[in-house]
């Protein structure tokens, strides 16, 4: 059997004969492998700290509004938090776009596209499942809506994490695991989630994002690229 180290000593023609003898499509397969690897390698690398901090501020503000006004109806809850989500999304878009322009790079790069494609299905599903109860359910289910949103947001983060840094997947898992624990805790009677919808939303979309944003701010490299 020829060792790999010996292979490099073989004359080029021998290699040529071996390869062409094996498979005439090897070059095409190699190109396909290269393409796949390059796509996998191009992960989303823009600085997430400002985006996380912005989303956290929006989340905390929305929770404060919900608790202080207070917003007690399911309609009010949905309007408040969907508005907050739209604001957070628009802000995140603006920050990412500004970073791209600053780095003189295209905003709608392949990694950005892949992250968006990963985020959209769980977010859309979460939105649909959250909005439907407004038409059919009583106002007490705001907590259930909050849990569904947190859970699906966790799914979205986890899916996007395949095209981003590893930390995002862990952050997504935190959302998913927390919702599971909260549901178990509530079912077992350890936690009382009644009328805690704004608290939950504020904690997960506000405080956790602020904490993660602060962590990223301290640890992220200054120069980033998508």
């Amino acid at each position: 059997m020829v060792k790999l180290s010996e292979l490099s000593l073989l004359p080029n023609t021998t290699l040529y004969c071996k390869v062409t003898g094996m498979d005439t499509n090897w070059a095409e397969e190699n190109l396909q492998t290269i393409r796949t690897l390059m796509e996998r390698s191009a992960i989303y690398r823009r600085a997430l700290a400002p985006i996380m901090l912005f989303v956290g501020i929006v989340g905390v503000t929305a929770a404060a509004i919900g608790l202080l006004l207070p917003v007690g109806t399911l309609y009010g809850f949905l309007i408040l938090w969907i508005s907050a989500a739209v604001l957070a999304l628009a802000g995140a878009f603006r920050i990412a776009r500004r970073q791209a322009l600053k780095d003189k790079e295209p905003f709608w790069s392949p990694p950005t596209r892949r992250v968006t494609q990963a985020l959209v299905p769980p977010l859309a599903a979460g939105l649909c499942l959250g909005v439907l109860p407004a038409f059919f359910g009583p106002s007490e289910i705001a907590v259930a809506v909050a849990l569904v949103w947190i859970l699906f947001y966790g799914f979205a983060l986890h899916a996007a994490g395949f095209f981003m840094r590893r930390g995002i997947k862990v952050f997504g898992w935190l959302f998913i695991a927390s919702v599971c624990l909260l549901i178990y805790g509530a079912a077992a009677g350890w936690i009382d989630l009644e009328n805690k919808a704004h608290w939950l939303m504020g904690l997960f979309f506000g405080v956790l994002h602020l904490a993660y944003g602060a962590y990223l701010y301290l640890t992220e490299k200054r120069k980033n690229a998508a």
């Binding site: 080029n12 040529y16 062409t20 095409e28 190699n30 492998t33 290269i34 390698s41 191009a42 690398r45």
Partner: protein, 102 residues
């Protein structure tokens, strides 16, 4: 079939492991050792050997730094590495073209 393009293929890059590393690095400004290892499912030793070979030919540069008090090894393609990779791709495309039935 004309063997010319095949004979010109860069032997350093024309190895499964090294080709994978070069492909990953070609699409990213830099990648950490861990990112490469995880993405390519290579062992530490295997990856180190391939990176050393690429480093010796001047295709890859390795930078060592610290992040959160932990050592961080990052790899990136050098200008000659990028050029060699582009040439390798061109040759592969030539081979594909000449293999295609007319």
């Amino acid at each position: 079939m004309n063997p010319e393009p095949f004979l010109q293929l860069d032997r350093v890059i024309h190895e499964k492991g090294r080709l994978a590393i070069m492909s990953m690095l070609a699409a990213s400004p830099e990648l950490s050792f861990t990112e490469l290892r995880d993405a390519l499912a290579m062992t530490d030793g295997n990856l180190t050997t391939h990176i050393r070979a690429l480093q010796e030919t001047g295709y890859v540069s390795v930078a060592k730094s610290y992040q959160n008090n932990r050592p961080l090894t990052t790899c990136s393609l050098t200008a000659p590495g990028r050029k060699a990779f582009a040439e390798y791709i061109n040759l592969l495309e030539q081979i594909v073209r000449q293999n295609k039935p007319r």
